[in-house]
């Protein structure tokens, strides 16, 4: 393999991972855009989504064949996304809404508490060991030159892009999307204009959680394995992606996710895979130091008031 073949291969792998990060980053950025909260439990929602789909796949993978497998995958996505959507809304209702007017430290601590709670609840229900996903997606692979793209990678790209486009147009064109944008700009004024702000916040959690769940299902299928603490590290990287793109900025989050995925892919391929979890953090620290508004962020959101 020539150097550019390796490069392209790493880019393909990084892009796949980046799509998952981008889906997660959207949830962070939407929630932060509206209520200025880092939803620490978002990574756990991702993980719960993966576990829900895993449960379904394991119980039905041996019975489904041919086109049935595709339906099974579809069902996995639907169950994961629906379950996590409900979970996300419930979390907001129980843990964040009572603290809406409290200083930001309080909800952040409940968010961490929730993240611990969900991780350990999953661990107690499913056990602490890695759960391996049955490989239900047929293993196609396309070779272009000396690099190869698997069918699963193409599926991940396709699903991610479709979901992101749906979200993009939903926010841009629908009435609810308009309300969401208005709330994100100014919560109080939006509520004065007759927007039910609580409903919009719930909607935000619903959308973010379903996207995270989709990411979780794809992550599980891609790596063939899922563990109860996977959500934490993926969540951190996705948050980094959201910050990179400029927090509160939806297209920025998509872009940031892809960039983080690519950096991780390239870093793991060229430097060392042992350090792969460090790259995202170093990028995070560097962005916050030199361009805290992110690549496309609005000014004045990040610095302290002083």
């Amino acid at each position: 393999m020539l150097w550019h073949d390796i490069l392209i291969q790493q880019l393909i792998n990084g892009l796949t991972l980046g799509m998952v990060y981008a889906l997660m980053a959207l949830g962070y950025t939407m929630v932060y855009g509206i209520i200025n909260l880092i939803n620490f439990a978002h990574g756990e929602i991702f993980m719960v989504g993966a576990y829900l789909a895993w449960g379904l796949f394991v119980s039905f993978a041996s019975r489904a064949q041919g086109i049935g497998l595709l339906f099974l995958i579809l069902a996995g996505f639907i169950i994961g996304m629906a379950g996590c959507g409900i979970l996300g809304v419930a979390i907001e209702r129980v843990a964040y809404r009572p603290l809406r007017n409290a200083p930001r430290l309080a909800p952040l601590i409940t968010a961490i508490g929730l993240s611990f709670f969900l991780q350990n609840a999953i661990m107690l229900v499913y056990g602490a060991s890695d759960k391996s996903f049955p490989s239900i997606f047929p293993h196609y692979s396309f070779t272009i030159g000396r690099t190869s793209v698997t069918g699963l990678q193409i599926l991940i790209w396709a699903i991610s892009i479709v979901l992101m486009l749906i979200l993009h147009y939903f926010i841009k064109l629908s009435k609810l999307g308009k309300a969401l944008r208005a709330t994100s700009q100014d919560l109080k004024t939006a509520s004065l204009m007759g927007i039910d702000v609580n409903r919009i916040i719930s909607l935000c959690f619903l959308l973010g959680s379903t996207l995270a769940a989709a990411g979780g299902v794809m992550f599980g299928m891609y790596y063939n394995t899922i563990n109860f603490h996977d959500g934490y590290i993926v969540g951190l990287k996705a948050f980094t992606a959201a910050v990179l793109g400029g927090i509160g900025n939806v297209p920025g989050a998509m872009f940031g996710g892809v960039v983080i995925g690519l950096v991780e892919g390239l870093g793991a391929g060229y430097i060392s895979s042992q350090w792969k979890n460090v790259f995202a953090f170093i990028i995070l620290v560097l962005i916050l130091l030199f361009k805290p508004t992110g690549l496309f962020g609005e000014a004045g959101r990040v610095r302290t008031k002083g």
Partner: protein, 385 residues
């Protein structure tokens, strides 16, 4: 019933009498009536508190003689290290209001500093102690200087990232022993002059028994707690409160927020460094796994549970949360679940913690409630007068 009525009547009369007396006598005996009773009262309360503290200390000192169970003493020693860490984190989170989610990193830096100095240079524990403190502080500056300008939750994420970077770095480097960590770190030794057979120096090695560490940790905790109590009531402590409550207002009053935040960060990191050094010398072995994110969160929950900003509360919180898992050994797997749940519940129902200060409580409440609390406080003060 009658008795109660009489009592009430008596009280009422007495109060009326006092009020009447005060009104008439104030010009004459203003010093006696208005100040002496409260001053005396305060002095009595102080005295009582001091006696309580001394009794508690005595109890802690004689504990190893009464309870000879090594395991109990060991648990207490570990709890003491947690108390140290929680006190340090309290300076950062409780006093200055900076959410640090990577505090375990500074603990790790202290532990690794002593371990490396000891293994490669043969440095003894007592020299390692200040060096670990300084190296913790240095890393505190290194991380704090560029990041303290960021808003609270961004700082939280950066510190979290820093914690992970430090852990992964220790995990991957060759000379820190990788995932296996460092082994054979020297225990502390005391050298003291003895006149048993002529004048010479004798060495007392701490070894693996728990009680010497218990006293070491107890001593350091007392020193740290004393310093922090003094700090809390000092100009600096008040400046931190001002920054925590309103940075802009504090800055207009001539406080330099960044410098003072950095100072809080550095003090907290130095304390973590000391705790790390003690931990490494006690264990003799350290691995990167001992300093993970869960530790940072545990420490944070100790501080939050006990009461952000309250030294007494933080000590209680740290002791509860470090002994509880030992008591709940049978339920060990539910431990973190319960932690998570309790963090949520505490924040919703008692955001000021077990022994929260009123000021902190006001800060954690929405503004209308804040006003009510402030009024309550004023009324309380009036009543005391």
């Amino acid at each position: 019933m009658r008795q109660v009525e009489l009592e009430l009547k008596d009280k009422f009369m007495l109060r009326n009498f006092k009020i009447v007396g005060a009104t008439f006598m104030t010009p004459v005996f203003s010093g006696l009536i208005n100040q002496t009773p409260t001053g005396l009262h305060r002095r009595c309360a102080n005295l009582r508190r001091r006696i309580g503290l001394i009794l508690l200390l005595l109890a802690l000192i004689v504990l190893p003689f009464i309870d000879t169970n090594q395991y109990h003493i060991d648990v207490m020693t570990t709890a003491g290290i947690y108390v140290m860490l929680a006190l340090g984190l309290n300076v950062v989170v409780g006093f200055a209001g900076l959410l640090n989610l990577g505090y375990a990193a500074f603990f790790a830096i202290g532990a690794y500093t002593y371990a490396l100095m000891n293994l490669y240079l043969g440095l003894p524990f007592w020299a390692g102690l200040p060096i670990s403190a300084v190296s913790g502080a240095l890393f505190g500056i290194l991380l704090g200087f560029p990041t303290l300008r960021l808003r609270g939750d961004y700082l939280a994420i950066v510190t979290l990232g820093f914690g992970e970077i430090v852990r992964i770095t220790f995990n991957n480097l060759e000379f820190t022993g990788g995932p296996n960590g460092l082994l054979g770190i020297a225990h502390p030794a005391l050298i003291f002059p003895s006149r048993l057979n002529g004048i010479h120096f004798e060495t007392f090695n701490f070894g693996v028994e728990s009680s010497p560490y218990y006293y070491l940790v107890l001593g350091i905790v007392i020193v740290v707690a004393f310093i922090l109590m003094r700090l809390d009531n000092s100009r600096l402590g008040r400046a931190w409160i001002a920054i925590r409550e309103d940075e802009v207002a504090a800055a207009t009053m001539g406080i330099d927020p960044i410098r003072l935040k950095l100072l809080a960060f550095v003090i907290g990191s130095a304390i973590a460094g000391v705790a790390g050094c003690v931990f490494a010398s006690k264990q003799g072995t350290i691995t990167p796994d001992s300093f993970d994110f869960i530790l940072s969160v545990m420490l944070l929950s100790m501080v939050v549970l006990g009461g952000l900003g309250s030294i007494k509360g933080v000590i209680i919180g740290a002791i509860i949360l470090s002994i509880l898992p030992e008591l709940l050994r049978g339920f060990a797997i539910y431990r973190m679940l319960l932690f998570g749940l309790s963090m949520i519940l505490i924040m919703i129902f008692r955001p000021q913690g077990i022994v929260g200060s009123l000021r902190r409580k006001m800060e954690l409440k929405p503004s209308t409630e804040k006003i009510r609390l402030e009024e309550d406080e004023v009324l309380e003060e009036d009543r005391r007068k």
